[in-house]
């Protein structure tokens, strides 16, 4: 039987990060990926002969500790965010700066800048917490926990150093809802709507839900700017893979793990779908929380833990629509540079909230919230064709009546129709289209419920209780098993942080 020090299940960015960290410490590491390509949600797709980002299309929030530890060198172009407006007065945001697309001043520019900068400051602060295991809740102040509590104490101190007023503001808003926060400062409209949409991207929540401010802050943890990586997301994932491989990790694709082998409450290896076994005393799983539990066998978990993992909410609401266009879309009122930015259709905070309502009842929203990118405006495709990559919210996992062809076409038509209002003629240029519903995303990437973060990022599922009370410290039931994906602290987005933190935890216990 083949033998490794550690096996990582899943070659998404978290799995590859974990592998790189472990291999960097001289461990013999094997990464097993069930798909034939790397990257999980960052994988590249092909539609009508044109390459496009199948799911994730932009880079932000990558954890600097991960970049440092893996020595990642990414060429990514920061891009403006454009909030499209029905009246043609589109708003262009570059960091904290907001102005109309024609260059004139936005009346809320000052208020926006203050709010945005504050959120980025808070985000940077919380980003510290993402770089370590969440605080341990057990009462005894053992030496082992001193580090984790230290992180919390340092957070408190940094908070304090921001000044009393900022500390009060942080403590007031951290658990509150994005709608109030935004509308307390800005008039409702595309600018406010853009912030609200960012607060709820991928979430089973509208901006009026308490906790959405935290999601917004989390998204802004690394400064907030979205970037289009040169060479697409595939270049990013290749960089992760290379970091793992140069450190000596072995990556195998098309290798689905059927179960994690447990003997005497200890991990001893994995069994692949074809029955072969690979032995290792340490296994890190980047699958969803409940999926990882099932791989190890539910009987290895306490009944309460199984119940909590079953209750871990993973209701995906974001779908992906990819379009191939015969030519370049022309957006009214946008320069080519602006049009190649991150385009948001989120007319107002209220509109975002209203778009959320139907999904609660398994219905398809009439007016979806859209984040669209036309990557071919930045990096043209050889064919001369263009692609639109759009994240669409809110789309139910299982609509009443199921995902019939008609239901799918409705969503695609909504997206095409919405874009066509701003780029007249776009509808006529569509030569191919595809919709990936949350269910499709689940079956393709394994993300439970098609949830982008492997589980709702609401406060009752974060930090010391993510993914479940008692399982929040990467150690995942039997000795030697770790949860290293987005279901673990700090959660989703292309951060690499769960993978890195889990690997560090595993290394510590391997040394013990």
């Amino acid at each position: 039987m083949e033998q490794f020090d550690a096996i990582v299940i899943g070659a998404g960015h978290n799995g590859l990060t974990a592998a790189a960290v472990l291999a960097g410490k001289g461990k013999k590491v094997l990464v097993l990926e069930r798909s034939t390509s790397l990257g999980g949600m960052m994988a590249t797709g092909m539609l009508n002969g044109v390459q496009l980002p199948r799911l994730a299309h932009l880079l932000y929030n990558l954890n600097p500790a991960v970049v440092r530890d893996l020595g990642l060198k990414l060429d990514a172009k920061p891009m403006p965010t454009v909030a499209l407006s029905e009246d043609g007065r589109h708003v262009v945001m570059k960091g904290a700066e907001a102005r109309f697309a024609d260059g004139t001043a936005h009346p809320d520019a000052a208020a926006f800048a203050t709010l945005y900068q504050r959120l980025v400051r808070f985000g940077t602060l919380l980003g510290q917490l993402a770089q370590a295991a969440p605080p341990d809740l057990s009462g005894s102040l053992s030496l082992a926990q001193a580090g984790e509590l230290g992180a919390l104490a340092r957070l408190g101190l940094r908070l304090r150093l921001m000044g009393k007023a900022e500390m009060r503001e942080f403590l007031r808003i951290v658990l509150s809802n994005a709608q109030d926060l935004i509308l307390d400062e800005l008039a409702d409209g595309p600018l406010a709507g853009a912030l609200a949409a960012d607060a709820v991207r991928g979430a089973w929540a509208g901006p009026s839900a308490p906790g959405t401010v935290f999601s917004l802050i989390y998204r802004l943890a690394q400064g907030g700017g979205a970037a289009l990586p040169a060479g697409g997301m595939v270049a990013v994932i290749s960089a992760f893979a290379k970091a793992a491989e140069v450190r000596g990790a072995t990556i195998r694709t098309g290798a689905a793990v059927q179960r994690i082998v447990i003997e005497g409450d200890r991990v001893t290896g994995v069994e692949l779908a074809d029955g072969t076994r690979v032995s290792a005393a340490t296994v890190l799983s980047t699958a969803g929380a409940a999926q990882s539990m099932m791989l190890a066998g539910h009987e290895s978990y306490d009944i309460e833990a199984v119940r909590r993992l079953r209750n871990f909410r993973t209701k995906g609401t974001a779908a992906k629509v990819n379009l191939v266009l015969s030519g370049a879309p022309e957006f009214n009122g946008l320069s080519r540079e602006q049009a190649s930015g991150r385009l948001l259709i989120a007319p107002s905070v209220r509109a975002v909230e209203r778009a959320f309502n139907p999904v609660k009842y398994g219905e398809i929203t009439q007016m979806p919230i859209i984040e669209a990118v036309v990557p071919t405006l930045t990096a043209p495709d050889a064919s001369g064709k263009h692609v639109v990559s759009a994240v669409v919210q809110y789309v139910p996992y299982a609509p009443d009546g199921g995902w019939t062809g008609t239901a799918r076409q409705i969503v695609i038509d909504q997206v095409v129709g919405a874009l066509d209002r701003f780029a007249p003629g776009l509808a006529g240029m569509v030569t191919a289209s595809e919709l990936l519903t949350p269910g499709d995303i689940e079956s393709e990437t394994g993300a439970p419920g098609g949830h982008w973060h492997h589980g709702e990022m609401s406060f009752d599922q974060l930090m010391s209780v993510r993914p479940a009370n008692g399982l929040a410290h990467y150690g995942f039931g039997p000795a030697g098993l770790y949860l290293a994906g987005a279901a673990a602290h700090p959660g989703g987005d292309v951060t690499g942080a769960p993978g890195r933190n889990a690997a560090l935890k595993a290394l510590k216990e391997m040394a013990a």
């Binding site: 005497g264 409450d265 099932m294 539910h298 009987e299 290895s300 978990y301 306490d302 009944i303 309460e304 833990a305 199984v306 119940r307 079953r310 008692g470 039997p478």
Partner: protein, 399 residues
């Protein structure tokens, strides 16, 4: 989403206490009309006189209605695996036709409840316990090919205890001579007899469908006349229970699912049941927490006490060297059979475990309106108070 539609007007549930299948007989036998609430059922506290009912347990044969016990049928190809993950013992060692005393814990190793597990066949089990467990068993069965059925209301139970109980059964025409302690047998279609009980004496429990309950009662009652059979209430049974040194849920330990202050939960180790915990059988609920507990040692221990003087030490506090409070009595009585003043008690470690000398019990007694405080010496015992070879003899003697 469950459809709650009804075509007919709703069937209203009964309010107040409801009768067990044996209530018609108990009603006639009750002179005291002293009823208790046992899981919503009418249950006798005393039927006639507690002392006489108690002596019937130790001298003749007694009938106690245990129908209100919670009973669950666990069946299916993975019933065994499911139960082995639930309880702390290794259920694989329980052969069909055998009964085992079991405990089960929450994830922190705190006892949820104790009970008796009947292995009816390779794939069928029955769990009898004091606390309702249906939702817990359903959660425990998630992922297993095992079905849980709540048969609490579908199985009537009757406990026949006392030195002449085997004779009563023989007289009623049942073949029970080969039944060893903790054996069970379906002696007639639909009637299961197990050699189990809560008295520490010779005794049996009989399980039957409710519609045949009264006929069974009458059959035993008739056969028992020459063997001094007597129906009893809870208080007499509780005396026998304390003499046998058996712990009771809600008395010696607080079932953790009904405990608001979670630190009041207790591990099996702290209840004196380390022998029930099999750390080597694979994972079971609370195993990791219990292993950590075992390393740290118990916080307290349930012990048996022999107490000086003649006054029962109910609700008493326990002191070391008459000074330091180290625990409390959970159950206490003057034992009419042993002629000793006995008690079960919870004592904080290291007292009761490593340091068992110089323990004192503070007894308050009221004599005709005047309260007195007495300190009585307490000795920790390692053996049950009441032991009698007749309880284990197979085949059992006539009396």
């Amino acid at each position: 989403m469950k459809d709650t539609r009804h075509d007919l007007p709703p069937e209203h549930i009964p309010l107040g206490l409801i009768p067990t299948p044996f209530q018609p007989r108990l009603e006639l036998l009750s002179r005291t009309k002293d009823w208790m609430n046992w899981a919503g059922y009418i249950s006798p506290a005393v039927l006639d006189t507690m002392e006489f009912e108690y002596f019937a347990i130790r001298n003749q044969a007694t009938l106690f209605d245990i129908s209100p016990m919670h009973k669950y049928r666990i069946s299916g190809p993975e019933a065994l695996a499911m139960l082995n993950r639930l309880v702390t013992r290794d259920v694989r060692k329980l052969a069909p036709g055998r009964v085992a005393y079991v405990m089960w814990c929450d994830e922190d190793g705190m006892v949820i409840d104790d009970g008796t597990l009947f292995r009816l066949s390779e794939t069928e089990f029955r769990l009898c316990c004091q606390e309702p467990q249906f939702s817990w068993l359903l959660d425990a069965a998630w992922g297993y090919d095992a079905q849980i059925e709540d048969e609490s209301h579908n199985v009537a139970g009757l406990s026949l205890q006392g030195p002449t109980s085997a004779s009563v059964l023989r007289g009623a025409g049942f073949e029970i001579d080969t039944l060893r302690p903790f054996d069970l047998a379906e002696v007639e279609p639909g009637l299961v007899i197990s050699r189990t009980g809560f008295t520490g004496d010779l005794g049996y429990e009989l399980w039957i469908s409710p519609d045949r309950a009264l006929a069974l009662w009458d059959r035993l009652w008739d056969a028992g006349q020459i063997w001094g059979i007597r129906a009893i209430g809870y208080h007499a049974l509780n005396m026998a229970r304390i003499e046998a040194g058996f712990i009771a849920a809600g008395v010696e330990f607080q079932p953790i699912h009904h405990t608001l202050r979670l630190h009041r939960g207790r591990t099996p180790l702290e209840l004196g049941f380390a022998w029930l915990v099999d750390f080597d059988k694979g994972h079971f609920n609370g195993r990791r927490a219990l292993a950590a507990h075992a390393k740290r040692g118990p916080r307290s221990m349930i012990v048996k006490l022999d107490i000086g003087g003649f006054k029962p030490a109910a609700d008493a506090l326990i002191y070391h060297r008459k000074k330091r409070e180290v625990g409390h009595v959970t159950s206490a009585m003057w034992s009419p059979t042993l002629k000793r003043n006995i008690a079960l008690a919870e004592i904080r470690a290291p007292f009761g475990t490593d340091r068992t000398s110089d323990l004192w019990v503070e007894i308050y007694l009221n004599q005709e309106g005047v309260w007195q405080r007495r300190m009585a010496r307490a000795t920790v015992l390692s053996q049950p108070f009441f032991r009698n070879p007749r309880a284990r003899a197979t085949p059992p003697a006539a009396f």
